[in-house]
Amino acid sequence: MNERATIAGLAYRGRTASIGFAHGPFVRVDGATSSGRVAAAPPDEAAALRAALVSAGQQIAKLAEAVGGDAAQILEFQVALLEDDDFLDPVFAAIAEATPAHTAWSSALEEQIADYNAAADEYLQARSSDLADLRDRVLRTLRGGEGEAPKIPGGAVVCADDLPPSQFLEIDWSRGGGLALLRGSPTSHVAMLARARGIPMIVQLGSVPANARTALLDGEGATLELDPSAEQIGLFERRRDLLRKNRASARAILRRPAASWAGEKIRLLINIQRVEDLEHADAQYADGIGLMRTEFLLGQQSGLPDEEMQYRAYDAVLRWAGKRPVTIRTFDAGGDKPVPGFTVDGESNPFLGVRGLRLCLARPDIFRIQLRALARAAVRENLKVMLPMVTMPAELEAARGIFVEAVDQLQSEGIPAGLPEIGIMVEVPAAGLAIEQFDASFFSIGSNDLAQYLTACDRTNGALANLIDPLQPAMLNLIKHIVDYGRRAGREVSLCGDMAGDPRCVPALLSCGLRELSVNPSALALIKQTIDGLSSGAFRV
Protein backbone atom coordinates (compact mmCIF):
# COMPACT_ATOMS: atom_id res chain seq x y z
CA MET A 1 0.00 0.00 0.00
CA ASN A 2 2.81 2.36 0.86
CA GLU A 3 4.39 1.92 -2.51
CA ARG A 4 1.03 2.56 -4.13
CA ALA A 5 0.63 5.73 -2.17
CA THR A 6 3.93 7.06 -3.48
CA ILE A 7 2.92 6.72 -7.12
CA ALA A 8 -0.64 7.99 -6.71
CA GLY A 9 -1.13 11.18 -8.66
CA LEU A 10 2.28 11.13 -10.37
CA ALA A 11 2.42 12.49 -13.89
CA TYR A 12 4.82 11.41 -16.61
CA ARG A 13 5.54 13.23 -19.83
CA GLY A 14 6.53 11.67 -23.16
CA ARG A 15 6.09 12.55 -26.81
CA THR A 16 2.80 12.61 -28.67
CA ALA A 17 2.32 9.76 -31.15
CA SER A 18 -1.46 9.94 -31.48
CA ILE A 19 -3.81 12.53 -29.98
CA GLY A 20 -6.88 11.84 -27.87
CA PHE A 21 -7.74 10.97 -24.28
CA ALA A 22 -8.05 7.69 -22.40
CA HIS A 23 -9.11 6.95 -18.83
CA GLY A 24 -9.08 3.31 -17.80
CA PRO A 25 -7.36 0.42 -16.02
CA PHE A 26 -3.55 0.49 -16.26
CA VAL A 27 -2.12 -2.68 -17.82
CA ARG A 28 1.58 -3.41 -18.11
CA VAL A 29 2.61 -5.72 -21.00
CA ASP A 30 6.04 -7.22 -21.52
CA GLY A 31 7.73 -8.86 -24.51
CA ALA A 32 8.62 -12.49 -25.09
CA THR A 33 11.87 -14.12 -24.05
CA SER A 34 13.62 -17.04 -25.70
CA SER A 35 14.47 -18.95 -22.56
CA GLY A 36 13.54 -22.52 -21.77
CA ARG A 37 14.07 -24.23 -25.08
CA VAL A 38 16.38 -27.19 -25.52
CA ALA A 39 18.02 -27.60 -28.90
CA ALA A 40 17.92 -30.86 -30.87
CA ALA A 41 20.27 -32.15 -33.60
CA PRO A 42 20.85 -29.77 -36.56
CA PRO A 43 18.45 -31.46 -39.04
CA ASP A 44 15.66 -31.41 -36.45
CA GLU A 45 16.46 -27.82 -35.55
CA ALA A 46 16.19 -26.81 -39.20
CA ALA A 47 12.86 -28.62 -39.50
CA ALA A 48 11.60 -26.99 -36.28
CA LEU A 49 12.48 -23.53 -37.56
CA ARG A 50 10.91 -24.21 -40.95
CA ALA A 51 7.71 -25.30 -39.24
CA ALA A 52 7.77 -22.25 -36.96
CA LEU A 53 8.28 -19.92 -39.96
CA VAL A 54 5.33 -21.46 -41.79
CA SER A 55 3.15 -21.28 -38.70
CA ALA A 56 4.18 -17.68 -37.97
CA GLY A 57 3.42 -16.79 -41.59
CA GLN A 58 -0.05 -18.30 -41.22
CA GLN A 59 -0.69 -16.48 -37.96
CA ILE A 60 0.29 -13.16 -39.51
CA ALA A 61 -1.76 -13.84 -42.65
CA LYS A 62 -4.79 -14.62 -40.51
CA LEU A 63 -4.29 -11.45 -38.54
CA ALA A 64 -3.85 -9.41 -41.74
CA GLU A 65 -7.07 -10.81 -43.09
CA ALA A 66 -8.93 -9.92 -39.90
CA VAL A 67 -7.71 -6.32 -39.75
CA GLY A 68 -7.51 -5.46 -43.48
CA GLY A 69 -6.51 -2.15 -45.04
CA ASP A 70 -3.35 -0.29 -44.02
CA ALA A 71 -2.73 -2.58 -41.08
CA ALA A 72 -2.58 -5.58 -43.40
CA GLN A 73 0.01 -3.80 -45.56
CA ILE A 74 2.17 -3.24 -42.51
CA LEU A 75 2.10 -6.96 -41.72
CA GLU A 76 3.09 -7.77 -45.30
CA PHE A 77 6.61 -6.57 -44.52
CA GLN A 78 6.90 -9.35 -41.95
CA VAL A 79 5.45 -11.95 -44.31
CA ALA A 80 7.91 -10.89 -47.00
CA LEU A 81 10.85 -11.44 -44.62
CA LEU A 82 9.61 -14.95 -43.82
CA GLU A 83 9.73 -15.70 -47.55
CA ASP A 84 13.12 -14.10 -48.20
CA ASP A 85 15.69 -16.80 -48.99
CA ASP A 86 18.58 -14.32 -49.07
CA PHE A 87 17.70 -13.49 -45.49
CA LEU A 88 16.96 -17.06 -44.30
CA ASP A 89 19.85 -18.93 -45.95
CA PRO A 90 22.48 -17.72 -43.44
CA VAL A 91 20.14 -18.70 -40.58
CA PHE A 92 19.87 -22.27 -41.84
CA ALA A 93 23.61 -22.32 -42.54
CA ALA A 94 24.22 -21.48 -38.87
CA ILE A 95 21.84 -24.22 -37.78
CA ALA A 96 23.68 -26.72 -39.98
CA GLU A 97 26.79 -25.79 -37.99
CA ALA A 98 25.03 -26.82 -34.76
CA THR A 99 23.67 -23.43 -33.65
CA PRO A 100 20.29 -23.93 -31.92
CA ALA A 101 17.36 -22.77 -34.07
CA HIS A 102 16.23 -20.08 -31.61
CA THR A 103 19.76 -18.66 -31.33
CA ALA A 104 20.32 -18.63 -35.08
CA TRP A 105 16.95 -16.95 -35.67
CA SER A 106 17.40 -14.40 -32.88
CA SER A 107 20.88 -13.38 -33.92
CA ALA A 108 19.84 -12.89 -37.57
CA LEU A 109 16.96 -10.68 -36.42
CA GLU A 110 19.09 -8.87 -33.85
CA GLU A 111 21.56 -7.98 -36.57
CA GLN A 112 18.77 -6.50 -38.69
CA ILE A 113 17.27 -4.71 -35.71
CA ALA A 114 20.63 -3.16 -34.81
CA ASP A 115 20.99 -2.08 -38.41
CA TYR A 116 17.64 -0.31 -38.41
CA ASN A 117 18.25 1.21 -35.00
CA ALA A 118 21.51 2.70 -36.28
CA ALA A 119 19.73 4.50 -39.12
CA ALA A 120 19.52 8.25 -38.62
CA ASP A 121 16.13 8.24 -40.32
CA GLU A 122 13.50 7.96 -37.61
CA TYR A 123 11.19 6.11 -39.98
CA LEU A 124 13.76 3.40 -40.53
CA GLN A 125 14.54 3.18 -36.82
CA ALA A 126 10.86 2.57 -36.23
CA ARG A 127 10.93 -0.50 -38.48
CA SER A 128 13.02 -2.26 -35.86
CA SER A 129 9.92 -2.86 -33.76
CA ASP A 130 8.31 -4.74 -36.68
CA LEU A 131 11.37 -6.97 -36.73
CA ALA A 132 11.26 -7.49 -32.95
CA ASP A 133 7.61 -8.44 -33.40
CA LEU A 134 8.53 -11.07 -35.97
CA ARG A 135 11.46 -12.33 -33.89
CA ASP A 136 9.24 -12.84 -30.85
CA ARG A 137 6.41 -14.47 -32.76
CA VAL A 138 8.70 -17.08 -34.31
CA LEU A 139 10.42 -17.67 -30.95
CA ARG A 140 7.07 -18.24 -29.23
CA THR A 141 6.04 -20.64 -31.96
CA LEU A 142 9.37 -22.48 -31.66
CA ARG A 143 8.71 -22.91 -27.96
CA GLY A 144 5.24 -24.22 -28.77
CA GLY A 145 3.42 -21.28 -27.21
CA GLU A 146 1.06 -20.20 -29.95
CA GLY A 147 -1.78 -17.74 -29.51
CA GLU A 148 -0.29 -16.23 -26.35
CA ALA A 149 -2.12 -12.91 -26.84
CA PRO A 150 -2.16 -11.22 -23.44
CA LYS A 151 -5.60 -10.71 -21.93
CA ILE A 152 -6.26 -7.01 -21.79
CA PRO A 153 -9.52 -5.55 -20.47
CA GLY A 154 -11.45 -3.23 -22.79
CA GLY A 155 -10.69 0.48 -22.57
CA ALA A 156 -7.34 -0.10 -20.84
CA VAL A 157 -4.33 2.18 -20.85
CA VAL A 158 -1.75 -0.31 -22.08
CA CYS A 159 1.85 0.33 -21.05
CA ALA A 160 4.82 -1.46 -22.63
CA ASP A 161 8.47 -0.91 -23.32
CA ASP A 162 7.62 -0.92 -27.03
CA LEU A 163 4.63 -2.63 -28.62
CA PRO A 164 4.89 -4.52 -31.89
CA PRO A 165 2.17 -3.93 -34.50
CA SER A 166 0.81 -7.47 -34.39
CA GLN A 167 0.36 -7.25 -30.63
CA PHE A 168 -1.43 -3.92 -31.05
CA LEU A 169 -3.79 -5.56 -33.51
CA GLU A 170 -4.47 -8.46 -31.16
CA ILE A 171 -5.76 -6.10 -28.49
CA ASP A 172 -9.46 -5.29 -28.58
CA TRP A 173 -9.65 -1.49 -28.94
CA SER A 174 -13.38 -1.42 -29.65
CA ARG A 175 -14.02 0.06 -26.20
CA GLY A 176 -11.33 2.72 -26.55
CA GLY A 177 -8.22 2.81 -24.40
CA GLY A 178 -4.76 4.22 -24.92
CA LEU A 179 -1.16 3.24 -25.37
CA ALA A 180 1.81 4.43 -23.30
CA LEU A 181 5.26 3.33 -24.48
CA LEU A 182 8.45 3.79 -22.51
CA ARG A 183 10.51 3.83 -25.71
CA GLY A 184 8.91 3.71 -29.16
CA SER A 185 8.65 6.40 -31.78
CA PRO A 186 5.92 8.62 -33.26
CA THR A 187 6.78 7.28 -36.71
CA SER A 188 6.55 3.57 -35.82
CA HIS A 189 4.02 1.35 -37.52
CA VAL A 190 2.18 0.97 -34.25
CA ALA A 191 1.87 4.78 -34.02
CA MET A 192 0.47 4.86 -37.55
CA LEU A 193 -2.03 2.19 -36.53
CA ALA A 194 -2.99 4.09 -33.39
CA ARG A 195 -3.59 7.29 -35.37
CA ALA A 196 -5.63 5.43 -37.95
CA ARG A 197 -7.78 3.88 -35.20
CA GLY A 198 -8.00 7.08 -33.19
CA ILE A 199 -6.28 5.45 -30.19
CA PRO A 200 -4.34 8.03 -28.14
CA MET A 201 -0.68 7.11 -27.77
CA ILE A 202 2.41 8.51 -26.05
CA VAL A 203 5.97 7.34 -26.65
CA GLN A 204 9.35 7.85 -24.96
CA LEU A 205 8.02 8.06 -21.43
CA GLY A 206 11.33 6.83 -20.02
CA SER A 207 10.46 4.83 -16.93
CA VAL A 208 7.06 4.40 -15.32
CA PRO A 209 6.12 2.21 -12.31
CA ALA A 210 4.34 -1.00 -13.28
CA ASN A 211 1.97 -1.31 -10.35
CA ALA A 212 -0.64 1.40 -10.85
CA ARG A 213 -4.31 0.47 -11.03
CA THR A 214 -5.76 3.19 -13.24
CA ALA A 215 -4.36 5.83 -15.53
CA LEU A 216 -5.25 8.99 -17.42
CA LEU A 217 -3.58 9.35 -20.79
CA ASP A 218 -3.61 12.67 -22.64
CA GLY A 219 -2.18 12.20 -26.12
CA GLU A 220 -2.31 15.94 -26.80
CA GLY A 221 -0.27 16.96 -23.78
CA ALA A 222 1.73 13.69 -23.92
CA THR A 223 1.07 13.06 -20.24
CA LEU A 224 0.32 9.89 -18.31
CA GLU A 225 -1.14 10.23 -14.80
CA LEU A 226 -1.18 7.15 -12.56
CA ASP A 227 -3.82 6.39 -9.92
CA PRO A 228 -5.23 9.90 -10.34
CA SER A 229 -7.12 11.80 -7.65
CA ALA A 230 -10.72 12.94 -8.16
CA GLU A 231 -9.36 16.43 -8.80
CA GLN A 232 -6.97 15.20 -11.52
CA ILE A 233 -9.82 13.29 -13.16
CA GLY A 234 -12.01 16.39 -13.11
CA LEU A 235 -9.29 18.52 -14.75
CA PHE A 236 -8.62 15.81 -17.30
CA GLU A 237 -12.27 15.60 -18.29
CA ARG A 238 -12.56 19.35 -18.64
CA ARG A 239 -9.45 19.42 -20.86
CA ARG A 240 -10.88 16.62 -22.99
CA ASP A 241 -14.24 18.32 -23.52
CA LEU A 242 -12.65 21.65 -24.35
CA LEU A 243 -10.28 20.17 -26.91
CA ARG A 244 -13.05 18.22 -28.58
CA LYS A 245 -15.06 21.37 -29.07
CA ASN A 246 -12.04 23.34 -30.24
CA ARG A 247 -10.76 20.95 -32.83
CA ALA A 248 -13.82 21.31 -35.04
CA SER A 249 -13.51 25.08 -35.31
CA ALA A 250 -9.71 25.13 -35.58
CA ARG A 251 -9.56 23.90 -39.16
CA ALA A 252 -11.81 26.72 -40.34
CA ILE A 253 -9.54 29.29 -38.71
CA LEU A 254 -6.50 28.07 -40.66
CA ARG A 255 -7.78 29.56 -43.87
CA ARG A 256 -8.05 33.04 -42.40
CA PRO A 257 -5.22 35.55 -42.75
CA ALA A 258 -2.39 35.82 -40.22
CA ALA A 259 -3.16 35.62 -36.54
CA SER A 260 -2.77 38.76 -34.47
CA TRP A 261 -2.56 39.60 -30.80
CA ALA A 262 -2.53 42.96 -29.02
CA GLY A 263 -2.63 44.65 -32.41
CA GLU A 264 0.51 42.94 -33.65
CA LYS A 265 0.75 40.22 -36.27
CA ILE A 266 1.85 36.83 -35.00
CA ARG A 267 3.79 34.86 -37.57
CA LEU A 268 3.16 31.12 -37.41
CA LEU A 269 5.75 28.99 -39.13
CA ILE A 270 6.31 25.26 -39.29
CA ASN A 271 9.09 22.90 -38.22
CA ILE A 272 9.96 20.15 -40.67
CA GLN A 273 12.15 17.08 -40.25
CA ARG A 274 12.38 16.24 -43.92
CA VAL A 275 11.11 17.43 -47.28
CA GLU A 276 8.08 15.12 -47.19
CA ASP A 277 6.68 16.91 -44.14
CA LEU A 278 5.54 19.63 -46.53
CA GLU A 279 2.93 17.18 -47.77
CA HIS A 280 0.94 17.72 -44.57
CA ALA A 281 -2.41 19.21 -45.54
CA ASP A 282 -1.99 22.20 -43.21
CA ALA A 283 1.60 23.10 -44.21
CA GLN A 284 0.40 25.41 -47.00
CA TYR A 285 -1.18 27.75 -44.43
CA ALA A 286 2.12 28.46 -42.64
CA ASP A 287 3.80 31.85 -42.86
CA GLY A 288 7.07 30.10 -43.64
CA ILE A 289 9.39 27.43 -42.32
CA GLY A 290 10.85 28.32 -38.94
CA LEU A 291 13.02 25.25 -38.62
CA MET A 292 14.09 22.77 -41.25
CA ARG A 293 16.15 20.06 -39.60
CA THR A 294 18.86 18.57 -41.80
CA GLU A 295 19.82 15.46 -39.84
CA PHE A 296 17.67 13.30 -42.13
CA LEU A 297 20.35 13.81 -44.78
CA LEU A 298 22.83 12.00 -42.54
CA GLY A 299 20.81 8.78 -42.60
CA GLN A 300 21.72 7.67 -46.10
CA GLN A 301 23.08 4.20 -46.67
CA SER A 302 25.69 5.58 -49.06
CA GLY A 303 27.33 7.50 -46.20
CA LEU A 304 27.42 11.24 -45.62
CA PRO A 305 25.47 13.29 -48.18
CA ASP A 306 27.28 15.05 -50.99
CA GLU A 307 26.85 18.70 -51.91
CA GLU A 308 24.54 18.04 -54.84
CA MET A 309 22.12 15.89 -52.87
CA GLN A 310 21.96 18.44 -50.08
CA TYR A 311 21.52 21.31 -52.50
CA ARG A 312 18.57 19.56 -54.13
CA ALA A 313 16.84 19.01 -50.77
CA TYR A 314 17.34 22.64 -49.67
CA ASP A 315 16.32 24.00 -53.04
CA ALA A 316 13.15 21.89 -53.08
CA VAL A 317 12.05 23.40 -49.76
CA LEU A 318 12.92 26.96 -50.80
CA ARG A 319 11.00 26.51 -54.03
CA TRP A 320 7.99 25.18 -52.11
CA ALA A 321 8.04 28.22 -49.82
CA GLY A 322 8.09 30.73 -52.70
CA LYS A 323 8.44 34.17 -51.11
CA ARG A 324 8.00 32.91 -47.55
CA PRO A 325 11.12 32.67 -45.37
CA VAL A 326 12.81 29.33 -44.73
CA THR A 327 15.23 28.80 -41.84
CA ILE A 328 17.47 25.80 -42.36
CA ARG A 329 19.43 24.55 -39.37
CA THR A 330 22.89 23.13 -39.98
CA PHE A 331 23.57 19.56 -38.83
CA ASP A 332 22.60 19.05 -35.20
CA ALA A 333 24.15 15.60 -34.74
CA GLY A 334 25.41 14.20 -31.47
CA GLY A 335 23.51 14.19 -28.19
CA ASP A 336 20.80 11.58 -28.72
CA LYS A 337 21.41 11.61 -32.48
CA PRO A 338 24.58 9.61 -33.20
CA VAL A 339 25.78 9.40 -36.80
CA PRO A 340 28.42 6.81 -37.75
CA GLY A 341 31.49 8.46 -39.25
CA PHE A 342 30.57 11.86 -37.86
CA THR A 343 29.71 11.98 -34.17
CA VAL A 344 32.15 11.23 -31.36
CA ASP A 345 31.80 7.79 -29.75
CA GLY A 346 32.11 7.03 -26.07
CA GLU A 347 31.31 10.42 -24.56
CA SER A 348 30.13 9.91 -20.98
CA ASN A 349 27.42 12.53 -21.38
CA PRO A 350 26.63 13.14 -25.06
CA PHE A 351 24.00 15.81 -24.31
CA LEU A 352 26.81 17.88 -22.81
CA GLY A 353 29.32 16.77 -25.39
CA VAL A 354 30.54 17.56 -28.88
CA ARG A 355 27.19 18.07 -30.60
CA GLY A 356 25.53 20.58 -32.91
CA LEU A 357 27.83 23.39 -34.07
CA ARG A 358 30.60 22.13 -31.77
CA LEU A 359 30.76 18.97 -33.84
CA CYS A 360 30.54 20.82 -37.16
CA LEU A 361 33.47 23.05 -36.19
CA ALA A 362 35.43 19.96 -35.16
CA ARG A 363 34.69 18.41 -38.56
CA PRO A 364 35.07 21.29 -41.04
CA ASP A 365 35.41 18.76 -43.88
CA ILE A 366 31.77 17.76 -43.41
CA PHE A 367 30.51 21.21 -42.41
CA ARG A 368 32.05 22.87 -45.49
CA ILE A 369 30.04 20.61 -47.81
CA GLN A 370 26.80 21.60 -46.11
CA LEU A 371 27.68 25.29 -46.21
CA ARG A 372 28.54 25.07 -49.91
CA ALA A 373 25.15 23.48 -50.59
CA LEU A 374 23.43 26.18 -48.52
CA ALA A 375 25.39 28.97 -50.24
CA ARG A 376 24.19 27.67 -53.61
CA ALA A 377 20.61 27.42 -52.33
CA ALA A 378 20.87 31.00 -50.99
CA VAL A 379 20.50 32.45 -54.49
CA ARG A 380 16.74 32.05 -53.96
CA GLU A 381 16.95 34.77 -51.29
CA ASN A 382 14.29 33.40 -48.94
CA LEU A 383 16.90 31.32 -47.10
CA LYS A 384 18.13 31.91 -43.56
CA VAL A 385 20.67 29.63 -41.93
CA MET A 386 20.63 28.78 -38.24
CA LEU A 387 23.46 27.31 -36.16
CA PRO A 388 22.52 24.92 -33.31
CA MET A 389 24.11 24.57 -29.84
CA VAL A 390 26.06 27.83 -29.92
CA THR A 391 27.71 28.64 -26.59
CA MET A 392 30.22 31.43 -27.33
CA PRO A 393 30.29 34.25 -29.91
CA ALA A 394 33.59 32.89 -31.25
CA GLU A 395 31.79 29.78 -32.52
CA LEU A 396 29.36 31.90 -34.54
CA GLU A 397 32.26 33.86 -36.02
CA ALA A 398 34.20 30.68 -36.84
CA ALA A 399 31.15 29.29 -38.66
CA ARG A 400 30.64 32.58 -40.49
CA GLY A 401 34.30 32.48 -41.56
CA ILE A 402 33.93 29.04 -43.13
CA PHE A 403 30.66 30.13 -44.76
CA VAL A 404 32.22 33.25 -46.33
CA GLU A 405 35.11 31.14 -47.61
CA ALA A 406 32.69 28.64 -49.15
CA VAL A 407 30.79 31.43 -50.93
CA ASP A 408 34.03 32.96 -52.27
CA GLN A 409 35.24 29.61 -53.49
CA LEU A 410 31.95 28.81 -55.25
CA GLN A 411 31.93 32.19 -56.95
CA SER A 412 35.53 31.75 -58.08
CA GLU A 413 34.45 28.42 -59.56
CA GLY A 414 31.76 30.31 -61.48
CA ILE A 415 28.94 28.71 -59.49
CA PRO A 416 26.13 31.06 -58.41
CA ALA A 417 26.15 31.40 -54.62
CA GLY A 418 25.33 33.88 -51.89
CA LEU A 419 25.74 34.44 -48.18
CA PRO A 420 22.35 34.13 -46.45
CA GLU A 421 21.38 35.69 -43.13
CA ILE A 422 23.02 33.73 -40.32
CA GLY A 423 21.30 33.31 -36.97
CA ILE A 424 21.73 31.14 -33.94
CA MET A 425 19.52 28.75 -32.08
CA VAL A 426 19.41 29.75 -28.42
CA GLU A 427 19.36 26.57 -26.38
CA VAL A 428 22.45 26.89 -24.19
CA PRO A 429 21.70 29.12 -21.18
CA ALA A 430 25.14 30.75 -21.48
CA ALA A 431 24.20 32.06 -24.93
CA GLY A 432 20.75 33.21 -23.80
CA LEU A 433 22.12 35.13 -20.82
CA ALA A 434 24.80 36.90 -22.87
CA ILE A 435 22.66 37.29 -25.98
CA GLU A 436 23.93 40.82 -26.71
CA GLN A 437 27.41 39.39 -27.35
CA PHE A 438 26.24 37.56 -30.46
CA ASP A 439 26.27 39.35 -33.79
CA ALA A 440 23.57 37.16 -35.31
CA SER A 441 20.86 38.26 -37.76
CA PHE A 442 18.22 36.43 -35.79
CA PHE A 443 17.70 34.28 -32.72
CA SER A 444 15.53 31.20 -32.52
CA ILE A 445 14.84 29.85 -29.06
CA GLY A 446 15.03 26.06 -28.91
CA SER A 447 12.89 25.67 -25.83
CA ASN A 448 13.26 21.89 -25.41
CA ASP A 449 17.01 21.89 -24.96
CA LEU A 450 17.00 25.29 -23.27
CA ALA A 451 14.66 23.91 -20.58
CA GLN A 452 16.77 20.78 -20.27
CA TYR A 453 20.03 22.70 -19.80
CA LEU A 454 18.50 25.42 -17.65
CA THR A 455 16.88 23.01 -15.19
CA ALA A 456 19.57 20.29 -15.32
CA CYS A 457 16.83 17.78 -16.17
CA ASP A 458 17.19 15.08 -18.81
CA ARG A 459 14.14 15.78 -20.96
CA THR A 460 13.63 12.07 -21.70
CA ASN A 461 13.37 11.19 -17.99
CA GLY A 462 9.67 11.12 -17.14
CA ALA A 463 10.35 11.24 -13.40
CA LEU A 464 11.58 14.84 -13.81
CA ALA A 465 8.58 16.12 -15.77
CA ASN A 466 7.54 18.48 -12.98
CA LEU A 467 10.96 20.11 -12.72
CA ILE A 468 11.39 20.71 -16.44
CA ASP A 469 8.10 22.65 -16.62
CA PRO A 470 8.71 25.22 -19.38
CA LEU A 471 6.43 27.78 -17.73
CA GLN A 472 8.63 28.23 -14.66
CA PRO A 473 9.92 31.75 -13.96
CA ALA A 474 13.56 30.96 -14.81
CA MET A 475 12.54 29.87 -18.28
CA LEU A 476 10.15 32.75 -18.93
CA ASN A 477 12.63 35.32 -17.58
CA LEU A 478 15.31 34.04 -19.92
CA ILE A 479 12.95 34.04 -22.91
CA LYS A 480 11.91 37.59 -22.08
CA HIS A 481 15.55 38.65 -21.76
CA ILE A 482 16.28 37.36 -25.27
CA VAL A 483 13.11 38.87 -26.78
CA ASP A 484 13.76 42.26 -25.15
CA TYR A 485 17.28 42.35 -26.53
CA GLY A 486 15.97 41.41 -29.97
CA ARG A 487 13.48 44.31 -29.90
CA ARG A 488 16.14 46.80 -28.79
CA ALA A 489 18.70 45.64 -31.32
CA GLY A 490 16.28 45.05 -34.17
CA ARG A 491 17.02 41.32 -34.42
CA GLU A 492 14.19 38.90 -35.05
CA VAL A 493 13.45 36.45 -32.25
CA SER A 494 11.32 33.34 -32.67
CA LEU A 495 10.70 30.15 -30.71
CA CYS A 496 10.69 26.71 -32.30
CA GLY A 497 10.46 24.17 -29.46
CA ASP A 498 7.49 22.18 -28.17
CA MET A 499 6.36 25.19 -26.11
CA ALA A 500 5.24 26.95 -29.29
CA GLY A 501 2.92 24.07 -30.13
CA ASP A 502 1.47 23.83 -26.63
CA PRO A 503 -1.71 25.95 -26.23
CA ARG A 504 -1.06 26.26 -22.50
CA CYS A 505 2.28 27.97 -23.14
CA VAL A 506 1.19 30.33 -25.89
CA PRO A 507 -0.27 33.10 -23.67
CA ALA A 508 2.98 33.26 -21.68
CA LEU A 509 5.10 33.36 -24.84
CA LEU A 510 3.07 36.22 -26.30
CA SER A 511 3.33 38.05 -22.98
CA CYS A 512 7.11 37.67 -23.14
CA GLY A 513 6.92 39.61 -26.42
CA LEU A 514 7.37 36.78 -28.91
CA ARG A 515 5.66 37.45 -32.22
CA GLU A 516 6.98 34.51 -34.19
CA LEU A 517 6.35 30.86 -33.32
CA SER A 518 7.31 27.75 -35.23
CA VAL A 519 5.33 24.56 -34.67
CA ASN A 520 4.82 21.11 -36.19
CA PRO A 521 2.38 21.23 -39.14
CA SER A 522 -0.15 19.20 -37.14
CA ALA A 523 -0.26 21.86 -34.39
CA LEU A 524 -0.67 24.84 -36.73
CA ALA A 525 -4.48 24.93 -36.63
CA LEU A 526 -4.65 24.55 -32.87
CA ILE A 527 -2.12 27.32 -32.20
CA LYS A 528 -3.70 29.72 -34.67
CA GLN A 529 -7.01 29.09 -32.99
CA THR A 530 -5.49 29.58 -29.55
CA ILE A 531 -4.10 32.99 -30.55
CA ASP A 532 -7.40 33.89 -32.14
CA GLY A 533 -9.18 32.98 -28.91
CA LEU A 534 -6.71 35.01 -26.85
CA SER A 535 -7.17 38.14 -28.93
CA SER A 536 -10.95 37.87 -28.85
CA GLY A 537 -10.83 37.36 -25.09
CA ALA A 538 -12.53 33.99 -25.21
CA PHE A 539 -9.67 32.21 -23.47
CA ARG A 540 -8.59 34.95 -21.10
CA VAL A 541 -8.47 33.66 -17.54
Binding site: Q73, E76, L124, Q301, S302, M309
Partner: protein, 101 residues
Protein backbone atom coordinates in the same frame (compact mmCIF):
# COMPACT_ATOMS: atom_id res chain seq x y z
CA UNK B 1 13.04 6.30 -67.60
CA UNK B 2 14.99 4.30 -70.16
CA UNK B 3 14.65 0.80 -71.51
CA UNK B 4 17.40 -0.78 -73.55
CA UNK B 5 17.33 -4.19 -75.10
CA UNK B 6 20.79 -5.12 -76.26
CA UNK B 7 21.28 -8.27 -78.28
CA UNK B 8 22.61 -10.09 -75.23
CA UNK B 9 20.63 -11.70 -72.46
CA UNK B 10 20.74 -8.92 -69.91
CA UNK B 11 17.91 -6.41 -69.99
CA UNK B 12 18.43 -3.16 -68.11
CA UNK B 13 16.30 -0.22 -67.14
CA UNK B 14 16.44 2.71 -64.79
CA UNK B 15 13.88 4.89 -63.11
CA UNK B 16 13.79 7.74 -60.61
CA UNK B 17 12.41 6.88 -57.19
CA UNK B 18 9.68 9.47 -56.68
CA UNK B 19 8.23 7.97 -53.51
CA UNK B 20 8.22 10.65 -50.84
CA UNK B 21 9.70 8.53 -48.08
CA UNK B 22 12.23 6.70 -50.26
CA UNK B 23 12.39 2.92 -50.49
CA UNK B 24 10.60 2.19 -47.24
CA UNK B 25 8.68 -0.88 -46.12
CA UNK B 26 5.57 -0.65 -48.25
CA UNK B 27 7.22 0.17 -51.58
CA UNK B 28 9.90 -2.46 -50.87
CA UNK B 29 7.24 -5.10 -50.24
CA UNK B 30 5.49 -4.20 -53.50
CA UNK B 31 8.74 -4.29 -55.44
CA UNK B 32 9.85 -7.70 -54.16
CA UNK B 33 6.38 -9.18 -54.61
CA UNK B 34 6.29 -8.07 -58.21
CA UNK B 35 9.85 -9.28 -58.85
CA UNK B 36 8.95 -12.71 -57.52
CA UNK B 37 6.24 -13.07 -60.18
CA UNK B 38 9.00 -13.43 -62.77
CA UNK B 39 11.33 -16.36 -63.39
CA UNK B 40 14.14 -14.05 -64.40
CA UNK B 41 17.07 -13.31 -62.13
CA UNK B 42 16.56 -9.63 -61.27
CA UNK B 43 19.04 -7.30 -59.58
CA UNK B 44 18.74 -3.67 -58.64
CA UNK B 45 20.98 -0.97 -57.25
CA UNK B 46 20.50 2.63 -56.20
CA UNK B 47 22.45 5.62 -57.49
CA UNK B 48 25.39 3.73 -58.99
CA UNK B 49 26.22 1.84 -55.81
CA UNK B 50 28.96 -0.74 -56.37
CA UNK B 51 26.81 -3.68 -55.41
CA UNK B 52 23.79 -5.10 -57.22
CA UNK B 53 21.31 -6.84 -54.95
CA UNK B 54 18.58 -9.42 -55.48
CA UNK B 55 15.31 -7.62 -56.21
CA UNK B 56 13.36 -10.55 -54.72
CA UNK B 57 14.88 -10.13 -51.24
CA UNK B 58 13.01 -7.73 -48.96
CA UNK B 59 15.93 -7.60 -46.53
CA UNK B 60 18.33 -6.58 -49.31
CA UNK B 61 15.94 -4.08 -50.90
CA UNK B 62 15.35 -2.37 -47.56
CA UNK B 63 19.09 -2.34 -46.92
CA UNK B 64 19.55 -0.21 -50.06
CA UNK B 65 18.25 2.72 -47.99
CA UNK B 66 17.34 4.26 -51.33
CA UNK B 67 16.26 7.86 -50.82
CA UNK B 68 13.74 9.90 -52.75
CA UNK B 69 14.96 11.08 -56.13
CA UNK B 70 17.73 8.53 -56.44
CA UNK B 71 17.93 6.50 -59.62
CA UNK B 72 17.03 2.84 -59.31
CA UNK B 73 18.81 0.71 -61.88
CA UNK B 74 17.37 -2.66 -62.76
CA UNK B 75 18.93 -5.55 -64.67
CA UNK B 76 17.41 -8.92 -65.41
CA UNK B 77 18.37 -12.08 -67.25
CA UNK B 78 16.23 -15.06 -68.17
CA UNK B 79 13.17 -15.85 -70.21
CA UNK B 80 10.83 -13.13 -69.01
CA UNK B 81 13.56 -10.57 -68.27
CA UNK B 82 12.13 -7.96 -70.60
CA UNK B 83 8.69 -8.09 -69.02
CA UNK B 84 10.21 -8.03 -65.55
CA UNK B 85 12.23 -4.87 -66.14
CA UNK B 86 9.30 -3.12 -67.80
CA UNK B 87 6.95 -4.04 -64.95
CA UNK B 88 9.36 -2.92 -62.24
CA UNK B 89 10.12 0.37 -64.00
CA UNK B 90 6.38 1.00 -64.27
CA UNK B 91 5.84 0.20 -60.61
CA UNK B 92 8.51 2.64 -59.41
CA UNK B 93 7.61 5.36 -61.93
CA UNK B 94 3.94 5.16 -60.91
CA UNK B 95 4.97 5.53 -57.25
CA UNK B 96 3.90 2.06 -56.14
CA UNK B 97 0.12 2.28 -56.71
CA UNK B 98 -2.02 0.04 -54.53
CA UNK B 99 -3.42 -2.00 -57.39
CA UNK B 100 0.00 -3.00 -58.72
CA UNK B 101 0.85 -5.96 -56.53
Amino acid sequence: MTLESPNGQVITGSVRLVHAAGMHARPAVKLTKLAKKFQAHISIRASDAAEWINAKSIAKVMALRAARDCIIQIKASGEDAEGAVAALVDLVAADFPDNAS
